[in-house]
Symmetry: C2
Subunit: 491 residues, 2 copies
C-alpha cells in the first residue's frame, strides 16, 4: 500500500482503446445486409432530393427514375466509399485534446438534445435551460472520458432559433477546449456562427483552417428520403470546412423494418445515401458514418434506448461501418430509466460495452443521458465517466507477452512465499494494468452502513456539486468575449 | 396495440442462447496461454496431493518429482481433455427444467455463499439465515433466467456443519424443481444427504440414476496445490454420481499473478489439474470446467467483482475453456455495490454481457449477489432476471434471411404508407424478435413523476414481496417430508 501510494497515477485505460473483438455478424451476413442496402439504393432509391443536390448527384452518376426518386448505381456507392475520408482528426481548441477518428479506435462522447434536466435538488425533471448547458459543459470539461462534447441539452428558455444556435456554441466555447459539436437549425446560421468561432480561433478564417467544431446533421429522413433543411446545412458546413456527423436515426418498426436484418439493410442504405451526397458535393470531405439504429417499444410507440436489441443493433452497425472502412458513429448508453438507478446502470452498461467491443469509433449519447434521451443528468455524467473507464479497460484486452505470462515468476512465487502479494511484478501490474475507481463503492457492508449507506446517485451528486462549485473555466479571453458580445445576443 | 395485446407471449430470448461472438483473445494468444499452463503442470506441478489421489494420479501417468510435487506430462493433460465429458445434462427434478451444458450455449445461474442478506425492510445488511435461504429458493423458482440454483447464501443461524449441509439441501428440495447445486463441507456428509435426495427422487438409488443436484467444489487451492478435504468430497461425489463444478477461484495479485496473461495461464493450469484429478479417478466423469478469475483491489487487498478487469478475465476464461471443448463455468454479475443502485446495474451489466458474449456455458453468481459476493438481495434477483433477458436478446443475434432482409417489404412500405407501423411484418417481428421488460421503466418523465418517481430498487422490492407472498411451493410430498424429518434434523 505504501508503494502504491507513492507511485505515479497513470490511466491504465485511456480513451481510444481498440475495439472489434465482438463480431455480432458473420462475414456472410455482412455481405447479405450490404447487398440488400445496395439493392435498395439502386432500385428503390431516395426521394425528396432538393434541386441543388439533385444536380450534384446526377453529375456524380446517380439516375433520376422519373418518378421522384434518385437511384444510386453500386459503382457510385463504391466510389463514395473508396474516396471517403477513412480517418481524420477531430480538433480540440486545445490541441492536446484532439482525437483521431477511424480504424477500430473507440471514443465515447455526447450527442444528445435533451429537453429536460434531472434536477439535482429535487431529483425530478424540469425543462433544460441555457444555464444547464453552461453547467453541463463545464462539468464534462473535467471528465476524461467525454472525448468530444456535443451540446447535451437544448436551452428551452431561448425561444429564438438563431439565438439558440448562437448561445449553444457560445456555451461550448466558453466552457471547454475539447472537440465540440452542435446542430444548426438552418443553413443561414452557419456563416455567422463561423464568425464567432473565428473570434475564438484567433481571427478571420482561422476556424476553417483547423475546425474544432463538427456539425450533427440528419440529412436523410427515414425511410429513404432526404430532408431539405438538413441538406442545406450540409452544403453550408462543407463551405466552411466543418466536419460532419451525418446521422441516420431510423426507428425499428416505425420508420424502418422491425426485423433486425431488414432494419440494418435500410439504415445502412440511408447512411450510404448521406455519404453519396457528401461525395457528390466534395469527395473525401470528413463525415462520420453515423448509423444509429434506434428501437421503438412497439407496445406504446415510444422510443426505447436501453435494451438488448439496442446493444445488438448498434454493435452490428459499428461492425458494418468498420467493415466498409468508414469512421463509425453509433449511439449507446441511452437508458430509459428516469432515476439514476440499477436500471440506468444496467442499460448503460450493456449497450455501451456492446458498441465499444464491436469497435464503434464515436459512441454518441454515451454520457449523462437519461429518460430515452429526453433527459440529461449531472450525476449521470460523473457516473458514466467511471463506467467508460471500465469499458475501456475491458477493450484494452490482455497483453500476452513472455514477461506477462511470467512462467518463472509463477514458479518463484509458488515455491517461495506461496503468494503474489507485494512482489515487484505485482506492484508493476497494479500500476499499469488495473483501473481503480474513485466513485464506485468497494467497502465492506459494515463500512458502507457506517458511512451513511449512500447509493451511487448520491455519491455522484456530491461529486458533481463539488466540480460545479470549483471548476469555472473561462476559455475565452476578455477581449474575445467582448468581441462576441458586440456581435451576438449572448444571453 | 390491440393485436399485440391479443397475441401469444413467447419468450423471444430464452436461456441457452449461443455465445462466442466476442473473442477477447486471438488464436495465437490462446496457444501461448495454454502452452504456459501446460509448462506449469509439467515442470512446476501440484503440491499437497492427498495419498489416495497421489496413487490414482501416478497410475494415470503423472510423475512425483520427489520434492512434494506431482508433475503432469502434456500427454496426460491432453488425455484428460480428450476423454472429458464435453456436454452433459444438468437434470431438474422437473425434467422440463433440465439444461444441457456445453458447446456455446449460455445459461445464467447462481453460485454464491453470501453471509449477509440485504434486508428488504431496512435496506441494510444483516446475517443471512435459513429462512432467507428458503425465501431466496422459492423466489428464484419463479424466475425463468435462473437456470440452476445453487444455495446463494449461507444459513449463518445453523452452527453445526452437518445440519447446515442437510438443511441447505432440504431448502432446495422443498422450494424448487430446477437443477440445484450445493457444497459439502466434508466428504462424510455426501452419503447421508444422498439418502435425503433419494427420498425426493422416489426411492433408494433413484437420485444417482438421474442426479438433479451438482456439487460445487474447489479441489485446487491457488497457487498450484490440492486441498485435501475438497479432494475427499470429489471422491464421494463420483461414488454417488453427483456431477461437479470444480472451481478455481484464484485471486489476481494475491494467489495468482497480477498480470492478466500470467493469471490466466496459472488458473487454466489449476483448473486442468482438477480435470486431470477427475480423469485419474474416473475418466469422462461430468465436470464443469469452472475457471473463475477473481480480482483483488490491490489498494486494500479486498476482493472486487464488478470491474472491467473482471469482465475481461471471465470472458477470456470462457473462451479458453470453450477452445478446449470443455463445458465452461465462469463467474459474472458480481457487483461490489452495497445498494441496489446505478453501480450495481452497471457492474452487473458489463460483466455478465462480456461473459455471455464470450460463450460462458454456466455463468455463476449471476443473480441476486451484491457486495462483492458477501451479500444476497431479493430485489437483486428480480432485477437480474430481467437483465439476463436483455443479455440473451443480444446473444440471440440477428437472423439474416431473405425474409428478414425483406427487400420487397421495404419497397412496399416506402412507396405505400411511408412507414412500417402496423403492417404484418412489423407485428410478427414484435412478437418474435423483441423482449418487452415488465420491471424496467420506459415511461415519460411526467408519467414517472406522477406515479411516485420510483427507482428500480423500489419497483423490484414490490415485485419480490408479491412473489414471496404468493409463491409457496411444496415440491416435497407430505410423505417425503415426513420421511426426511424422521431421519434428519430439519430446522
Amino acid at each position: 500500500m505504501a508503494l502504491r501510494a507513492a507511485g505515479p497515477m497513470l490511466d491504465p485505460c485511456p480513451p481510444g482503446q481498440i475495439g472489434g473483438s465482438y463480431k455480432p455478424l458473420t462475414e456472410a451476413e455482412i455481405q447479405r445486409i450490404h447487398g440488400t442496402a445496395l439493392d435498395l439504393l439502386e432500385r428503390l432509391g431516395m426521394a425528396e432530393v432538393p434541386p441543388r443536390l439533385h444536380a450534384d448527384l446526377l453529375a456524380a452518376g446517380a439516375l433520376d427514375n422519373g418518378a421522384g426518386r434518385m437511384l444510386f448505381p453500386p459503382a457510385l456507392v463504391q466510389a463514395a466509399v473508396d474516396q471517403a475520408a477513412k480517418t481524420f482528426v477531430l480538433h480540440g481548441r486545445d490541441p492536446d485534446r484532439s482525437i483521431e477518428v477511424g480504424g477500430n479506435r473507440v471514443y465515447f462522447g455526447t450527442g444528445g438534445a435533451a429537453v429536460q434536466t434531472l434536477d439535482m435538488e429535487s431529483g425530478l425533471y424540469r425543462p433544460s435551460t441555457l444555464a444547464d448547458l453552461h453547467d453541463f459543459t463545464r462539468l464534462q470539461d473535467t471528465l476524461a472520458n467525454v472525448s468530444w462534447f456535443t451540446r447535451c441539452c437544448v436551452a428551452t428558455d431561448v425561444p429564438d432559433n438563431f439565438d439558440l444556435d448562437v448561445n449553444t456554441v457560445y456555451a461550448l466555447l466558453k466552457n471547454t477546449t475539447k472537440p465540440i459539436a452542435t446542430s444548426f437549425t438552418l443553413a443561414g446560421h452557419v456563416a455567422p456562427i463561423v464568425r464567432m468561432l473565428d473570434i475564438a480561433a484567433g481571427g478571420p478564417g482561422e476556424f476553417s483552417r483547423r475546425p474544432f467544431l463538427k456539425a450533427h446533421i440528419s440529412p436523410v429522413i427515414s425511410p429513404m428520403r432526404y430532408g431539405e433543411d438538413a441538406v442545406d446545412v450540409v452544403y453550408a458546413c462543407i463551405d466552411h470546412n466543418i466536419p460532419m456527423s451525418c446521422i441516420t436515426a431510423a426507428q425499428a418498426g416505425a420508420t424502418a423494418p422491425a426485423t433486425l436484418a431488414g432494419f440494418l439493410a435500410q439504415s445502412l442504405a440511408e447512411t450510404l445515401a448521406s455519404l453519396v451526397m457528401v461525395h457528390a458535393i466534395q469527395p473525401g470531405f470528413p463525415m462520420v458514418f453515423s448509423n444509429w439504429p434506434l428501437v421503438v417499444d412497439l407496445r406504446t410507440g415510444s422510443f426505447s434506448g436501453g435494451s438488448g436489441e439496442t446493444a445488438l443493433l448498434n454493435a452490428a452497425s459499428a461492425q458494418l461501418s468498420n467493415w466498409l472502412g468508414l469512421p463509425s458513429g453509433v449511439a449507446c448508453s441511452m437508458s430509459d430509466a428516469k432515476a439514476v438507478d440499477a436500471q440506468y446502470g444496467m442499460e448503460k452498461g450493456i449497450t455501451s460495452l456492446a458498441a465499444a467491443l464491436a469497435g464503434g469509433n464515436l459512441i454518441y449519447e454515451s454520457s449523462g443521458m437519461t429518460a430515452s434521451l429526453l433527459g440529461a443528468s449531472f450525476e449521470g455524467f460523473v457516473l458514466d465517466d467511471e463506467m467508460h473507464s471500465n469499458t475501456y479497460r475491458a477493450l484494452r484486452g490482455i497483453e500476452v507477452t513472455e514477461e506477462n505470462l511470467g512462467f518463472d515468476a509463477v514458479c518463484e512465487a509458488v515455491l517461495g512465499a506461496g503468494h503474489f502479494l507485494g512482489n515487484q511484478q505485482t506492484h508493476a501490474a497494479m500500476e499499469r494494468d488495473y483501473f481503480y475507481p474513485s466513485l464506485a463503492d468497494r467497502d465492506a457492508p459494515r463500512t458502507w452502513a457506517e458511512n451513511g449507506a449512500q447509493d451511487a446517485w448520491s455519491r455522484a451528486r456530491d461529486r458533481a456539486r463539488t466540480i460545479l462549485r470549483d471548476h469555472r473555466p473561462a476559455y475565452l479571453t476578455p477581449e474575445q468575449d467582448r468581441q462576441i458580445r458586440a456581435q451576438f445576443n449572448i444571453l
